[in-house]
């Protein structure tokens, strides 16, 4: 009798754990279902054009290339900011900060990670953009750079906390061996500790990039949303995420435009999935060692 | 050589953790209401051997065995539904005392409750008797509701013994029960084992040869997964049959 109860409970638990698999499948399926008709009409090739003009009296153009380059530009800029600040921050917290500093910095980083993106975007709109406009003498502060700075701020907590874990899991004995050989504290940090923690740091950066690529509200609010191919940091750009958020609300269900937006979602999903998958692989292999 | 009834035993048991074999063709017959000590160097399979009898090895992923393990002439690995009954019959005391972070009372009452005893007066009686049998009652009777982790190491270990006794086992498996204790507490545990032997069949793993000599009637010497020799403790410690046993006992290795 007891065995029956045990079996039923175990079955329920297996079911619950399988839910995650089911949800992932459902995400792919529900996106695919809405996006699929686009493949035959108007045809998948239409996505590869160089302009995004989804609403037009003449001919609608659904080229997602400018959206991809928009996301790429913002992401590269944000990554450039995120890596030095994130990694140095992690090094500082793990190796340099005294205990009392750490007791302040670690919760602060966690609070920082929790600030809603819409609040960051709001701050960008009312404070950062006017500053950038002034500094670079621009017509508008709504630029890729502005988005990148704010996205870097949002991703830095991820980079710091995972890198810090990696740095702290470097065995003490290695550090001591280096110090005992007469290496200074900094030499030990940058020649021994950081290289040993490098896989973890790389994974941290990749997860940070995943977060940047997928972030929506900040870019929607501050980057100007001009769908054009540009690599000028102080130009306006339109990212994939912002496009979905801005246009999905006004589009007719089932229309070509609607389906194209789901395709943008699929491209996003594939990119973030790949980034996460590689990061997880790196972390797993690293943890095994 | 065994003068009393056989309580439990093994026939040709091989045991594996995944690929690596931990017990090799072990056969043994363990007498009832006696203390049997298991000695041998670390990693020789003593604990694995011990945990065969209450099937605690089952909870480790990827283990399997061949051969037969018997208690009261019944093979204990045949029926998977009787696990609760088996473990009720075969109590275990672990190397590191593991009191639950509950009150002293709740620790001892845990087993009886699991096995369906609900009535408070009956539980109280069981708790008192078990604590008395474990020689702990006088020290804790006034603070049964305090958390068990506040007890000293030796008291914790006796609490774990009381907890095991509360489900009325017939057999007690003890895995180096005194290895983490100070000499005074060790003595108390050893005396307790002497008392318990009247009612229970006890198997005790020990690292300490003097302890084996002091508390046990029979001794089994394990080496690298093989049962090298099993005999009366007196005989093992005075004139062992095997050279390996003698070398170990006289301190030439291990």
């Amino acid at each position: 009798m007891i065995n029956w109860r045990e079996k039923i409970i175990q079955l329920l638990l297996v079911g619950a754990a399988s839910a995650s698999i089911l949800i992932v499948l459902l995400i792919f399926l529900s996106l695919g279902k809405e996006a699929l008709p686009f493949m035959s009409d108007p045809g998948i090739g239409r996505l590869l054009e160089y302009r995004w003009i989804p609403v037009s009296f003449k001919r609608e153009v659904f080229g997602i290339i400018p959206l991809i380059t928009g996301s790429v530009l913002v992401t590269i800029l944000a990554t450039g900011l995120m890596i030095p600040f994130g990694v140095l921050g992690a090094v500082y917290i793990a190796e340099i900060a005294v205990a009392r500093e750490r007791a302040f910095l670690k919760p602060f980083i966690e609070i920082m990670a929790g600030i809603p993106s819409v609040v960051i975007g709001f701050f960008g709109l009312v404070i950062l953009n006017p500053v950038l406009k002034e500094v670079f003498q621009l017509k508008t502060g709504l630029t890729a750079l502005s988005g990148a700075i704010l996205l870097a701020l949002m991703a830095i907590p991820t980079v710091i906390s995972i890198s810090e874990d990696a740095i702290r899991s470097v065995p003490k004995s290695i550090k001591e061996a280096s110090l005992a050989l007469g290496a200074s504290r900094l030499q030990t940090i940058f020649r021994v500790v950081v290289p040993a923690a490098l896989p973890g740091i790389i994974a941290a950066v990749m997860l940070g990039i995943g977060r940047v690529v997928g972030e929506t509200m900040v870019v929607l609010m501050v980057t100007g949303n001009a769908a054009k191919i540009t690599f000028n940091p102080v130009d306006s750009v339109r990212t994939m995420t912002a496009t979905i958020a801005a246009e999905m609300g006004e589009v007719a269900f089932g229309s070509d435009h609607y389906q194209a937006l789901f395709w943008v979602g699929i491209v996003l999903l594939v990119i973030t999935f790949t980034l996460n998958y590689i990061a997880q692989k790196v972390l797993n292999r690293y943890r095994m060692k | 050589m065994v003068s009393t009834n056989v309580k439990m035993g093994m026939r040709a048991v091989d045991f594996y953790y995944g690929e690596s074999q931990a017990l090799f063709d072990v056969s043994i017959a363990i007498p009832e209401k006696r203390v049997t000590a298991l000695i041998g160097p670390s990693g020789c399979g003593k604990s694995t051997f011990l945990r065969m009898f209450n099937r605690m090895n089952d909870i480790i992923d990827g283990t399997h065995h061949t051969g037969e393990v018997m208690i009261d002439k019944e093979s204990i690995y045949q029926n998977n539904n009787n696990l609760a009954e088996l473990r009720k019959k075969v109590g275990m005391v672990f190397q590191k005392s593991n009191p639950f972070p509950k009150s002293i009372f709740e620790n001892v009452a845990y087993g009886p409750k699991i096995h369906g005893i609900k009535e408070q007066t009956q539980l109280q009686e069981i708790v008192e008797n078990s604590l008395k049998a474990a020689a702990l009652w006088d020290e804790v009777k006034d603070r049964l509701t305090t958390n068990a982790i506040t007890l000293s190491g030796g008291q914790q270990q006796r609490l774990c013994i009381a907890r095991a006794l509360a489900v009325e086992p017939e057999i007690l498996l003890m895995d180096e029960p005194a290895s983490a204790l100070d000499p005074k507490s060790t003595t108390r545990i050893e005396n307790l084992i002497g008392e318990l032997q009247k009612h229970y069949t006890i198997i005790i793993v020990t690292h300490n040869m003097q302890q084996a000599a002091r508390v046990s009637n029979y001794t089994a010497f394990f080496y690298e997964g093989h049962l090298v020799e099993f005999d009366e403790t007196k005989k093992i410690f005075t004139k062992p049959e095997k050279q390996q046993t003698e070398d170990y006992i006289t301190g030439r290795f291990g």
Partner: protein, 284 residues
């Protein structure tokens, strides 16, 4: 010799500067919102209904909406996450199935929030026909925070020593008896911590609710789970970017931002404190 040491101090100084620069910027964001939002914060703002499409009045419907969404999300996600964690940590054997579940969880954790929005739109709003509603929004948020809850619940379970499980099993307790009586009670505080973090995240997200529930302007309280609602983050977004007089309603934006941030910080801080208490108290 001295110059080498001087250089070392200089570089350490730079690293410290980089760290505290980030702290300062974030500190400034918080400071700015507190200073400018605080004067708006009064009883009428918290408990009143918005007027003139949010240019005047209060934000009660948005607060209530966010609370509804978060409550809905956590009541789906907590049981599911807890059960998944129990399976993964207590039952699952190493192998393919467990690897696939883990891959699914880390995939979920990386799905962009707007894609969750699309998914919620496709599945709950359209396919199941729940429409844009609290139900659709809550389910979407629930799946978004599920990985957080699973991962922290697992961590809480792992922190319970194996010796407690063995002790219980050795007394003849079944696996589930052991988990229910001698593992879960000690893991629950840790599980709650993860859930509170999840709640904080759900409260602050905009993108997933954009397409599944959020109302642009709806100055009344919801009557059922099939109603649309306003929500704090979306309200802030609307006021800041969509409102015809965005400049004029700046104080309302600051007020909304402050309420939102206070809510989220409240959740996060209580999670951090709860976790620290828990770590301090239980020393096995």
């Amino acid at each position: 010799m001295i110059s080498k040491k001087g250089k070392e101090y200089f570089i350490i100084g730079l690293i410290r500067l980089a760290t505290y620069l980030v702290v300062a910027i974030v500190g400034y964001i918080l400071f700015d919102i507190f200073i400018k939002g605080f004067p708006i914060l009064n009883w009428e703002f918290i408990s009143g209904f918005p007027r003139r499409s949010g240019a005047e009045g209060g934000i009660l419907p948005a607060i209530v909406g966010t609370i509804c969404l978060v409550t809905g999300a956590i009541s789906f996600a907590f049981p599911l996450g807890m059960a998944s964690a129990i399976y993964l940590n207590e039952y699952a054997q190493q192998g393919r199935f467990k690897q696939i579940i883990r891959l699914a969880i880390s995939t979920l954790a990386g799905v962009p929030s707007i894609v969750f929005g699309l998914f919620g739109l496709g599945l709950f709003v359209l396919f199941f026909g729940f429409g844009a509603s609290i139900l659709s929004g809550s389910l979407t948020l629930a799946f978004m925070i599920l990985p957080t809850i699973i991962v922290s619940s697992e961590e809480a379970l792992r922190a319970v020593p194996t010796a407690l499980r063995e002790g219980s099993l050795a007394l003849g307790a079944s696996k589930w008896q052991t988990i229910a009586r001698n593992v879960l009670p000690y893991a629950l505080p840790g599980m709650f911590t993860g859930s509170i973090l999840g709640i904080g995240r759900a409260a602050g997200e905009t993108a997933p609710i954009l397409l599944t529930v959020a109302a642009f302007y709806l100055p009344r309280l919801p009557r059922s789970i099939f109603d649309q609602v306003m929500a704090l983050p979306y309200h802030l977004y609307v006021l800041a970017t969509q409102h015809p007089e965005a400049e004029k309603v700046l104080p309302m934006q600051y007020g909304t931002a402050l309420v939102l941030i206070l809510l989220v910080i409240l959740f996060n801080l209580s999670a951090i404190i709860l976790r620290n208490q828990f770590r301090k108290k239980i020393q096995w």
